[in-house]
Symmetry: C2
Subunit: 257 residues, 2 copies
């Protein structure tokens, strides 16, 4: 299995604190040592870092822990390989363009009978079940919505329904983003916490680090962090219900399907 | 205008030395301070680093100068903006998937009347002429070759012809790769040097650094570096002829069209 990390915020925010906790699970406090990756949206652009080396001793992970990359949406993943060898092309998150937007995707779980799912507009490069699920999902969306829909709720329901279809094939915890929304589908484990004023302090579970968000934020900031397992020990994380999808934008929960 | 940097090698090779010379032109010895980016292929995967900040004082560029990322194909770019604001989505290289391969592209020059070029399978995210040219080119290739061609020479000629069509719209110096081949089209300035045994020493033009390749390589290594302007002062660089395209694979020149 793997661990997922997502963020949605209303102002560009760095994820150094949460990422520092997550990378400990990539070889130190957790067994997820088969690579890691993280994508940061900045407006319509996306900055990607990926490494098939364990996150706990990756030079690139060190950079991200210490160099604050400010972003409104983050999709991150650390991998414990089950399907597909350890290699760069099998390292999440995966990124594809659709409708002139970059779509970013990370998956935790294992799926079977993936060859039943026909590919259309998008093709995986690697050999993971996750990469194929992503390309299938985008192909289904593109076929149903050749152009970005004017009303977005039907798209949300469509993504939820297709995610539920993937869920029937195994364990399917997923983060998906178009750079505006963050879609979170839960099969087994995904929790979130929303931080807003009045901000307090929080301590990481996986390494002895505490941060006082009051010193790092302004009163208007709203930041939601999503993770496979709660990253802090002194905040109340909410678990996404099995078989449901939540949608975040600008740090706020927009829908629960 | 911008500066391009490419590499094709028969063994995974780091580009720290050449990149160190190039980034000096991003704000120090050159005016190209509107961002930079570089993509490294490792097998079928691609590792991308992009920053809209000047390369000469970028934290991420510092990492790449000092941390040897080994790759067989590199596509790099430092930008002096003309069309399209300075932003992450306008920062080269651009990457898209086609035929289950990652295609990477960087362009130096300025093109006009780009709206004449219809988009098909791929859509730009940013607002540059370069991004549109890339998506148009991939759309043309995909329409003509819905699947990877068994015989590759017709594809090379097709890319050359479409590049020549773009060249009629302005200045078109281009690097393009599918992770196996490196395509280099020259309108004004692109030079290459191939390093092979017996290796010697070389000194950068832009900063006082000398390297002895004999200490860094084995006898079988073949490494070609392509750049807008020669990066070293004591090697013989060959200029690509105006209006022609060269194709490299495993460091060797395969074709000159």
């Amino acid at each position: 299995m793997c661990e997922l990390l997502g963020m949605s915020a209303n102002v560009p925010t760095d994820i150094c604190f949460s990422f520092t906790g997550l990378v400990e699970r990539g070889g130190n406090t957790g067994p997820h040592s088969d690579g890691w990756g993280i994508a940061f949206y900045e407006d319509k652009g996306v900055r990607e870092f990926r490494d098939p080396a364990p996150s706990s001793d990756s030079e690139i992970a060190k950079l991200i822990k210490h160099f604050p990359i400010k972003s409104t949406i983050v999709v991150g993943h650390i991998r414990q390989a089950n399907v597909g060898q350890v290699s760069l092309e099998n390292t999440h998150p995966f990124v594809r363009e659709m409708w002139g937007q970059y779509w970013t995707y990370a998956h935790n779980g294992q799926l079977s009978d993936m060859m039943d799912l026909p590919l259309q507009s998008h093709t995986p490069v690697g050999t993971t079940d996750s990469g194929r699920a992503f390309c299938w999902l985008l192909g289904e969306i593109k076929q149903h919505f050749p152009h970005p829909p004017v009303s977005i709720q039907p798209l949300w329901q469509f993504i939820k329904d297709k995610s539920a279809a993937l869920h029937t094939k195994g364990v399917y915890n997923m983060l998906l983003s178009d750079g505006i929304h963050l879609y979170v589908y839960c099969a087994t484990n995904l929790s979130w916490v929303t931080r807003r004023a009045p901000f307090g302090a929080a301590s990481l579970k996986d390494i002895d680090i505490t941060i006082d968000f009051a010193e790092e934020t302004t009163e208007k900031d709203v930041v939601t962090v999503i993770a496979t397992e709660p990253l802090t020990c002194d905040e109340t994380w909410q678990q996404v219900a099995t078989g449901s999808m939540v949608v975040f934008r600008d740090g706020e929960l927009l829908a629960q399907l």
